[in-house]
């Protein structure tokens, strides 16, 4: 049990990632020159795109955790990482949606557009919420592990289909929004910064999932100790 207590290096790793990201964002805000026709507002991309990437990466982590969760009489830790992935994923979808709409206002003059990516993120938010509701609705841990793992697989299978259908639906009804158009202008320094941001946020998301998973494991262990103690007297 000792090794699971937060040793120094895991906490420092998290802090290191956090500081790295802050400095990256700092540079994005101050260092980079402002871009011609969009002024400075394009800088929000360095927060919006990495957060969106992390949100979708969480659905992949949930997928892998669900595969292991379905294996026979698994110890049960895998599905806890699945739940952690759903929670972190939910948070990142929220960040993505908020930064996306803030970014949309100056660019297109509206707080919300039915852009394919934004809409898919919104549906992903609902799916993560559904996963967590299902988790709390089933009390028997053995059944809950199986049922939630199955939902994890369904979510991962459906996200690409949702994305394709929503983007098709959008392109049919509106010429590709500036956002896609804007993709062309990302080059050189801007691109490397963006990729750095995506890597940074994704690693941080993985770290959050890992730590939250351990916490859930500790919580379960405490509950078991309490059950064992209550059985003893």
């Amino acid at each position: 049990m000792q090794q699971r207590i937060g040793q120094g290096w895991t906490q420092c790793l998290g802090l290191l990632l956090y500081v790295l990201l802050l400095s990256l964002w700092g540079y994005a805000l101050i260092g980079l020159g402002s871009e011609e026709h969009q002024g400075d507002v394009y800088r929000i991309i360095y927060m919006h795109v990495p957060a969106a990437f992390a949100a979708f990466m969480c659905s992949f982590v949930l997928f892998v955790a669900s595969i292991y969760g379905l294996k026979r009489n698994k110890h049960g830790q895998a599905v806890l990482y699945g739940r952690a992935a759903a929670e972190v994923g939910l948070a990142f979808t929220l960040i993505t949606l908020v930064t996306g709409s803030i970014w949309g206002k100056p660019t297109w003059g509206v707080w919300w557009t039915w852009d394919g990516r934004l809409t898919t993120t919104f549906i992903l938010l609902l799916l993560y919420g559904g996963y967590l509701f299902l988790w709390s609705a089933v009390s028997d841990p053995v059944l809950r592990t199986k049922v939630c793992s199955i939902l994890g697989l369904l979510i991962f299978a459906d996200v690409p289909i949702i994305y394709k259908s929503v983007t098709w639906w959008r392109t049919l009804h509106q010429p590709p929004s500036l956002f896609q158009g804007g993709q062309g202008l990302i080059a050189g320094e801007f691109l490397s910064l963006l990729l750095g941001g995506i890597a940074g946020v994704s690693l941080l998301a993985l770290w959050l999932i890992w730590q939250r998973g351990i916490n859930l494991g500790l919580q379960k262990e405490i509950d078991t100790q309490l059950i064992k103690k209550s059985l003893r007297y």
Binding site: N73, G76, V142, K220, D223, T224, I227, K228, L231, R232
Partner: protein, 212 residues
């Protein structure tokens, strides 16, 4: 022949039981004893295939006792403690017809009706008119026991079989269990009520309480 070797089950982190090993030979009744919460029903659920153990093996139906290798569902007939597994909108007859149709050789209408008679569900009103939902708990338990007795499965897994039965019902249960065992069948019974197995040759198996 049913063989359990070093079976253990962990409910999340709490080890319910560990390294259970015993065998049940044809013609034998195993009476599972042990205080509440020791895992008797869980053990039956594992044998029936509803739960998978965290370790250990359950093997059944070896050829030497004349039983060809059967699937788990064909070897075990399971009766849960607080549920009879009946379709409450349908009448008694169609319930039994459905369950018997699921086992390998579906039974003739006659055998089903005689089983209903044997279990005291004789009146045609009871058999066909009335939906099972209107029957009393005792009557439903008899119907569930009739389902088990009709099943060709050699090994019965009975969890509190006489729950809700009157004295006549208990006698009927003992008779059915008796001739099932005489025909080379076997049974694993969980029952706190000693009356249910009185007068039958029974082997006790006490599940140790791991904590106290």
């Amino acid at each position: 022949m049913l063989q359990i070797s070093s079976l253990s089950f962990r409910y999340d982190h709490v080890e319910l039981f560990q390294h259970l090993s015993f065998t049940v030979k044809p013609g034998e009744i195993l009476h599972l004893r042990g205080s509440n919460g020791v895992g008797k029903s869980t053990l039956l659920a594992i044998l029936a295939g509803l739960l998978s153990p965290s370790a250990g093996q359950v093997t059944w139906g070896k050829e030497e006792a004349g039983f060809p290798s059967l699937q788990r569902g064909e070897f075990f007939a399971y009766l849960a403690a607080e549920a009879n597994g009946l379709y409450l909108q349908l009448n008694a007859l169609s319930n039994l017809r459905f369950w018997s149709s699921l086992s390998s050789e579906p039974l003739a209408e006659e055998t089903i009706r005689t089983a209903l008679l044997r279990w005291g569900l004789a009146s045609p009103l009871l058999q066909e008119r009335l939906a099972v939902g209107f029957l009393s708990t005792g009557m439903r338990r008899r119907l569930a026991l009739a389902r088990v007795s009709l099943s060709p499965a050699p090994c019965w897994l009975l969890d509190e079989p006489i729950y809700g039965l009157d004295t006549r019902g208990v006698e009927l249960f003992r008779e059915a269990l008796q001739n099932h065992v005489e025909q080379g069948g076997m049974a694993v019974v969980v029952s706190h009520d000693l009356v249910s197995l009185a007068g039958l040759t029974v082997r006790q198996y006490v599940l140790q309480d791991k904590w106290r």
